[in-house]
Amino acid sequence: MGKISMPKGAPSIDMTPMVDLAFLLVTFFMLSANFRENEPVTVATPSSISDKEVPQKHLIMVTVSQDGLVYFNATGNKTREVLLNNMCAKYKVALTKEQQEEFLKMSSVGTPMKGLSKYLSMNSQERSKLKWGIPTDSTQGPNELRDWINFAHAASLKEGQADYEDASSKTTDKLEVNDYKPKFVLKVDGKAEYARAKVVIEVFRDLNINNLNFVTSLEQKPTIKA
């Protein structure tokens, strides 16, 4: 009878392919991941068939939460800096250096101007508990949302212009000027009252901004037979 010879030493598996694959996947997910910005409020957007993506640059976004609170956000560091300076000058709000830096780092803001200093000193958890929002009613003091949008529009146009010239000098291709113009995005919660969103829309329309984009999640496009 032949003896079964047992292999000497510890059994070993060559793990190299597995490790290769693991790292490949890690790299893929790392590069494809885009992190969600830390918004002060979660908004469940309605769905539509539109497959246009949210623009990443030169974006001016107003969020209307389920309770009808209004938040404002604008992208671009230069835009935010100019915007903050203009807003602080208009409403005579003094901010410390740290607070200004905090404003540049964060995403949406939802506070009346007189509470801005306090708002910027909080952490994001404290902020999400607040029910402040930006005042949009011009009967009780100034319409602050209008100023936010107006100043951001001007600053974003300028930054877009600079970006366009910068990009044009680097390439010989003809660039689309419209890509560098500010885009106005409205993010509304599905359960929010339309009347609240309408107030915001009216602010935009008062400023002669008529092309608005609603943030929606994608749904299947149905086939239509004529």
């Binding site: 490790v19 890690v26 009252e193 609603f214």
Partner: protein
């Protein structure tokens, strides 16, 4: 790979030559693999692939104060939707309030639903002209007779046609954003070019309230 190397190499054999100890060149990769999988799990769980989309909507420009707005907007082949909370009504053509000066019978509001059987079916029926045009263009695009740019140009032209359906949207205070966006979405599905969200008139509100009761 990940085994514990116990046979370290040639030791000192009696009378043998002195050999340098053969160290295993193998590195224990287990911690690295652990880390790799940890990261992998993290990224798999946190990454979101469905980026949010935007639906653009062009509002009509605000009329100047000098321009007077007609109470009864004179628009041919228009359909007006009145939206309340999860309820939707519509009428076609002009609106005639009860006891109007022209002596026309009062407009009757018809109720429909947000689903595919309601608004979508209705609009498909009403907007046959543009949809038929679109189907023709789709076929030409599929056969590569026309290019994408030309297709879009022709489609926009068809949508802006004089006889194409135009839609007015009016909302009351109870309507939610979802109702509004659902309706606009249905309009987009049915390729309606002219959409105008406008203010609700008091007489329309009264009719709508009478209906919802």
């Amino acid at each position: 790979m990940a085994e514990i190397s116990d046979s370290g190499g040639g030791g000192h054999k009696k009378g043998g030559k002195k050999r340098a100890k053969k160290n295993s060149t193998k590195v224990d990769m287990t911690p690295m693999v652990d880390l790799a999988f940890l990261l992998l799990t993290f990224f798999v769980l946190t990454s979101t692939f469905s980026k949010p989309k935007v639906m653009s909507l062009v509002y009509p420009a605000k009329p100047d104060d000098t321009e007077k707005i007609d109470e009864t907007q004179r628009i041919n082949n228009a359909i007006t939707f009145l939206v309340s909370q999860d309820k939707i009504f519509y009428y076609e053509g002009e609106f005639y309030a009860p006891g109007n000066a022209k002596g026309k019978p009062t407009t009757v509001l018809l109720e429909t639903t947000f689903g595919p059987q309601g608004v979508r079916k209705l609009l498909t029926e009403k907007n046959k002209l543009v949809l038929g045009e679109k189907a023709k263009l789709d076929a030409r695009l599929a056969n590569k007779e026309i290019k994408q740019e030309e297709y879009e140009k022709l489609l926009n032209k068809a949508k802006a046609d004089k006889y194409a359906l135009k839609v007015l949207i009016k909302t009351d205070t109870k309507a939610t954003c979802k109702n509004f966006i659902d309706l606009v979405d249905e309009l987009k599905i049915n390729s309606i070019g002219v959409v105008a969200p406008v203010d609700l008139m008091q007489s329309e509100l009264n009719l709508m309230e009478a209906k919802t009761k």
